[in-house]
């Protein structure tokens, strides 16, 4: 709450102090008004625009500082490169887009109207060459008949190849927005959650009233304001509330809210989306108003706000008028002119003409006079409204419409006005303030497919069916006048508090008069007769995407009649402003062309985000090495010290091999590791395998139902290999399961399937068989488990395990599993299981001892040349042994395909049994795991190569399978592979063609028994 940087009262005080001192600085701000405004004249700020040094004050936006410095031309348009000035004073700005900052922090397409000025700010205009004033691309404007809507669909058709090579790059260079920095973002971003009873979006009169009512009643309130200053329209308008000025009342409200511990005020925070269950997305610009974020602070913070109730008080957006020449610098929104004058004390120009179809435009004329400006004329097709008859006495008022503009690159010189009697008069002026009426900001209220509904009275769409829990109040609802905003905001806040279960008093609503807001729709000015032809000026609907009224009509004539089609064909409303100023005008012109009423034409679907959100904010801290969580096996730090090369396996980092200094490549290291195991002893951290503790009276019965084989018959102290299927009959996972006690099993899964198997077993236990007495607990992270393998394994373990433990083949036979005591007294689990085919044990200790276990294994095996090995050696040895792993358990192989058909019990029900019996899954020509060795031992096999009959013609119909796992076998001295090949089991000894067109592989190989090494299995039982 402390970071409301520029509260109106503080600035008023600063301003009073400043007025007492001589104003030495800021002299270059030729268009800065002498007094007034909510800027801090004590704090001059220096910035550059296109390299030119300028100055402004704290409290300025870049746009207001540019206007105060007399800059009219700020940008070139997207397609025609037309000169453009500042149009609005808010996030709806389509014109004034700049490249902000330099180097790695450069951010293109920043809206000058929302960029808070800071000292040293650097801004550059974009989409122009060589400069903003002399832009070669402006020739596009002269060629505009060529660039009509859909021009690239029509013009650049042939030859087809030229699109990618020639047309598209050329168009992209010519038409576009700013450019990205091209280097990584140096800043830090955060994500956060917040919970509240009431979320209030917007801090104008309605939002402040809602927050006050709910906050007083005791509700937990979050008040989000997009701007850096709270108050909304009260900062720009000269209204009275409760007998005080609007700005003073706003300051009082802010002070009261800031004093409530249950209210959180979040300025510089844009609520960009509404999601299910009262969850809202918001982005807080923590450091965007600083040259670079403060130390230990993020640049932006992405909020997910969970609110029981939400009041959308996001206000209304003024609509431009569509008339020839309406995009020239100097043509501005009437409300924006008022904001620049009153809030920023920046004058867009001295002589202001106002073109309006509603009462609000007349208030801009009053503001111009109050700020010492001159009214060139007020042009209103309705004539003088009754409410302004007194005020307008002495003004030049023309009952008519603007039909053309004249001016320089920087400013207007005059506007052409067609009056009601058919004449055309020229009105000299610097600025034309236009107002086509106000569109309620229907974004947030329409995100759940709520369709806005038409309200004739204000000639605009208002929110229709809102998301659950959301209420719209004030201008956002279409009730534009101040009194209504205050009343509605208050009621909505008080109601939300009651609905959240709070019973405190909301106090009294603030009171203000309801100003006149009458409007008569004017969707497009059609220049009468000669005037229009002579002017020949385009009438823009979408300023950012350069879509004109003629484009809309052309699209309609070409058959793009649906509003969704119009949008995509013309790109109307698809720019970074999301059509906030253009959508309603566009569809009104479409409706007229179709001879429909506006509600019949309807609106497009609204989707979040309603303002652009930086990808960096959405990513938050999850980038680079923090993109996802990293899991480290218990021996990781030990392995890192030994210089292991690591490989990502899911979230895990596993040691892939341990290179020695003299080894020239990975294969040399891996071969050494394999041979060390085969001829001596080695060990490997296998803690990443999933481990599930299964306990209960029915644990055995439960495992019988999830595995194809039987576990209830497994003796205590024994381990067994098991395969589980999915219910559709395909293999899900495999692993060994040990029975540690009558009612206690220890299941292992593959590393990849640890999570899914746990989820599956829980489903079986809870949803399918709740009657079974069985409990599951994940123990993957609790145990450090190492495989110790090789002829000398027993010798090594005898140095580690208490001498009282019998590790002989009789005392600890193959597939035995039990707890043992280590030397020194620690308990460990020992499993006599082998993946490598050698005499092997797996030893498990609590995970925190993993690092020291690795060291102890090195010590215990030092005399036998113990060698740590990584996943590559592990993989090589399992391929040599023909064990199926991830590449074979690929989701579309059956137990039969993998050679486990005989393991499938016929005496019990188990998951997948019935579906595995389907005819298609029993076909004799299904792929089966088979070994492959090239006829020429020098040929290198590669995974994915296809297997075809010898001498077969190439083609999908002769394809019989592919290599799934490939390695160099140091024992056999050649490349070998496992493959899934049709009828593979019957074809051992057959010569086939191995075809790998991507890597120039085409040679002959022999299919063979997949167990290449020690097929009798004598070594692992020794």
């Amino acid at each position: 709450m402390a970071d409301i940087a520029h509260s109106p009262a503080a600035l008023k005080r600063a301003e009073a102090e400043a007025a007492a001192k001589p104003r030495a600085r800021g002299a270059s701000q030729a268009r800065r008004l002498a007094g007034g405004g909510l800027i801090d004249r004590q704090k001059p700020l220096s910035f550059t625009f296109d390299g030119k040094r300028m100055s402004g004050f704290a409290g300025d936006t870049l746009a207001s500082a540019l206007l105060a410095s007399g800059v009219g031309l700020v940008a070139r348009s997207f397609k025609y490169h037309r000169p453009r000035g500042v149009l609005t004073a808010g996030p709806e700005e389509p014109n004034a887009l700049v490249e902000l900052r330099t180097g790695a922090r450069l951010e293109p397409n920043s809206k000058a109207t929302t960029v808070e000025l800071f000292d040293g700010l650097v801004a550059k205009s974009q989409n122009r060459w060589p400069s903003l004033r002399h832009d070669v691309g402006a020739v596009n404007g002269a060629l505009s008949p060529l660039f009509v809507v859909g021009f690239y669909y029509k013009t650049f058709m042939w030859p087809p190849k030229a699109w990618e090579k020639l047309y598209e790059p050329a168009i992209r260079r010519a038409a576009g927005l700013g450019s990205a920095s091209g280097v990584p973002d140096p800043d830090h971003y955060e994500k956060a959650w917040a919970h509240c009873d009431l979320l209030v979006v917007g801090s104008g009169p309605a939002g402040l009233s809602a927050a006050l009512a709910a906050g007083r009643a005791g509700a937990r309130v979050i008040l989000c304001e997009n701007d850096f200053m709270l108050g909304g329209r009260l900062l720009s308008d000269a209204f009275e509330i409760d007998g005080r000025s609007g700005a003073e009342w706003a300051q009082g409200a802010i002070d009261e809210l800031a004093g409530m511990p249950n209210v959180r005020i979040m300025p510089r925070t844009t609520v960009f989306g509404g999601y299910d269950g009262g969850t809202y997305g918001a982005v807080e610009r923590v450091g965007d108003h600083l040259p670079q974020p403060s130390e230990h602070q993020p640049r932006q913070r992405l909020w997910r706000i969970v609110a029981k109730r939400t009041v959308d008080a996001s206000g209304a957006i003024e609509r431009p008028l569509v008339f020839p020449g309406n995009d020239r610098p100097g043509v501005m929104m009437a409300g924006a002119v008022r904001t620049y004058l009153n809030r920023f004390a920046a004058s867009p120009g001295r002589r202001v003409a106002v073109f309006t179809n509603n009462d609000d435009g007349w208030r801009t004329a009053q503001a111009v006079l109050a700020a010492g400006g001159e009214i060139a004329a007020v042009i209103d097709p309705r004539g003088v409204p009754e409410a302004f008859r007194m005020a307008a006495a002495g003004w030049r008022v023309i009952e008519g419409e603007v039909v053309g503009t004249k001016g320089t690159l920087d400013a207007l010189t005059s506007v052409e006005v067609a009056d009601a009697r058919g004449g055309v008069v020229t009105v000299p002026c610097d600025v034309l303030a236009m107002s086509g009426g106000w569109n309620p900001a229907v974004g947030l209220s329409s995100f759940h497919r709520g369709r806005p509904v038409w309200k004739d009275e204000i000639a605009a769409f208002v929110p229709g069916k809102c998301p659950t829990g959301l209420t719209v109040a004030g201008a956002a609802k279409g009730d534009l006048s101040l009194g209504a905003c205050l009343q509605e905001g208050f009621s909505a806040g008080a109601k939300a508090a009651v609905e959240a279960g709070l019973s405190g008093s909301p106090g009294e609503p603030a009171q203000a008069a309801d100003e006149p807001v009458a409007v008569r729709a004017l969707w497009e000015v059609k220049a009468p007769g000669k005037a229009g032809q002579k002017a020949g000026q385009k009438a823009f609907v979408d300023f950012q995407h350069d879509v004109t009224a003629d484009d809309v009509r052309l699209a309609q004539r070409e058959g793009f009649e649906s509003v969704e089609h119009l949008k995509r064909y013309t790109t109307l409303g698809m720019a970074t402003d999301q059509g906030k100023t253009s959508n309603v005008n566009g569809l009104a012109i479409l409706a007229e062309a179709k001879g429909e009423k506006i509600p019949e034409t309807g609106t497009t679907i609204y989707r979040p985000p309603q303002v652009p959100v930086a990808i960096a904010a959405l990513a938050g801290p999850n980038r680079d090495e923090h993109f996802h969580a990293t899991r480290l096996p218990p021996s990781h730090h030990w392995a890192a010290k030994r210089g292991a090369v690591f490989v990502d396996v899911g979230l895990w980092k596993r040691a892939q091999w341990y290179p020695l200094a003299h080894e020239k490549d990975w294969l040399e290291s891996v071969n050494r590791e394999v041979l060390a195991v085969r001829n001596g002893v080695g060990f490997c951290d296998v803690s990443t395998l999933g481990k599930i503790d299964v306990r209960g009276r029915d644990a055995g019965a439960f495992l019988d139902r999830v595995y194809i084989n039987t576990f209830s018959s497994l003796a205590v102290g024994k381990a067994r290999y098991g395969v589980m299927l999915r219910e559709d009959g395909f293999v899900m996972d495999d692993g060994t399961t040990s029975r540690l006690a009558e009612d206690h099993y220890f299941v292992t899964t593959t590393t990849a399937k640890a999570g899914p198997v746990m989820q599956h077993l829980e489903f079986c236990r809870q949803a399918l068989w709740p009657e079974l007495d069985v409990q599951l607990a994940s123990a993957t992270d609790q145990w450090a488990q190492f495989s110790v393998a090789g002829l000398k394994t027993r010798d090594l373990l005898q140095n580690l395990v208490d001498p009282a433990e019998d590790l002989s083949n009789e005392g600890f036979p193959f597939m035995a599993a039990r707890e043992v005591k280590l030397r020194g007294g620690m308990r460990a689990r020992l499993f006599r299981i082998s993946f490598s085919g050698e005499l092997a044990f797996e030893i498990a200790v609590p995970a925190r001892f993993g690092g020291s276990l690795a060291e102890n294994l090195m010590q215990a095996g030092a005399a036998f040349g113990v060698t740590p090995y990584g996943t590559e050696a592990l993989g090589t040895m399992r391929i040599e042994k023909g064990h199926a792993a991830g590449a074979e358990l690929n989701g579309w192989t059956t137990a039969g395909d993998l050679g486990f058909g005989k393991m499938m019990s016929k005496k019990k029900d188990f998951i997948g049994r019935v579906m595995a019996g389907r005819e298609e899954l029993q076909r004799p020509d299904r792929p089966a795991v088979v070994g492959v060795k090239p006829l020429n031992p020098a040929d290198r096999l590669r995974g994915g190569a296809h297997v075809l009959p010898r001498n077969a013609k190439l083609g999908p119909d002769t394809d019989q399978g592919f290599l799934t796992s490939v390695c160099f076998s140091p024992v056999l001295g050649r490349w070998i592979a496992l493959a899934l090949v049709a009828r593979g089991r019957e074809r051992h000894g057959e010569v086939v063609r191995i075809y790998d067109p991507l890597r120039n592989g085409d040679f002959e190989a022999e299919l063979c028994n997949p167990v290449f090494y020690d097929p009798e299995g004598a070594r692992q039982r020794g």
């Binding site: 269950g277 559709d728 809870q766 949803a767 399918l768």
Partner: protein, 99 residues
């Protein structure tokens, strides 16, 4: 979207994973010998593959993997994502014969 876990309270959707329609129940059949009941395959085909896709309220399985690991039956409106009830799942997929 938020789900009110009966064990943990209201939690964000990211803690849960979705399985789908909670209507199918796993068929029970005699499985003591090599021969299966002739209707077993048909019944399992329905159980594994056939699902309704209602526009409106649907009872579906969700797993609170990021919390208590409970399987839940959530009654959700597929048009609005509004959740009417959240119950623990015990037995929700069990065969009617067994139950």
């Amino acid at each position: 979207m938020r789900i009110n876990c009966p064990f943990c309270g209201e939690r964000e959707i990211g803690e849960f994973s979705y399985l789908g329609d909670a209507a199918p129940r796993r068929p029970a059949y005699a499985a003591e010998g090599p021969e299966l009941a002739p209707e077993a395959e048909e019944a399992f085909f329905d159980f594994v593959y056939l699902r309704d896709n209602p526009a409106g309220e649907m009872r579906e399985h969700w797993y609170h993997g990021g919390g208590c690991r409970a399987w839940l039956v959530v009654t959700r409106n597929t048009l609005t994502h509004e959740i009417r009830t959240t119950e623990p799942a015990p037995g929700a997929g069990a065969s009617e014969r067994a139950a």
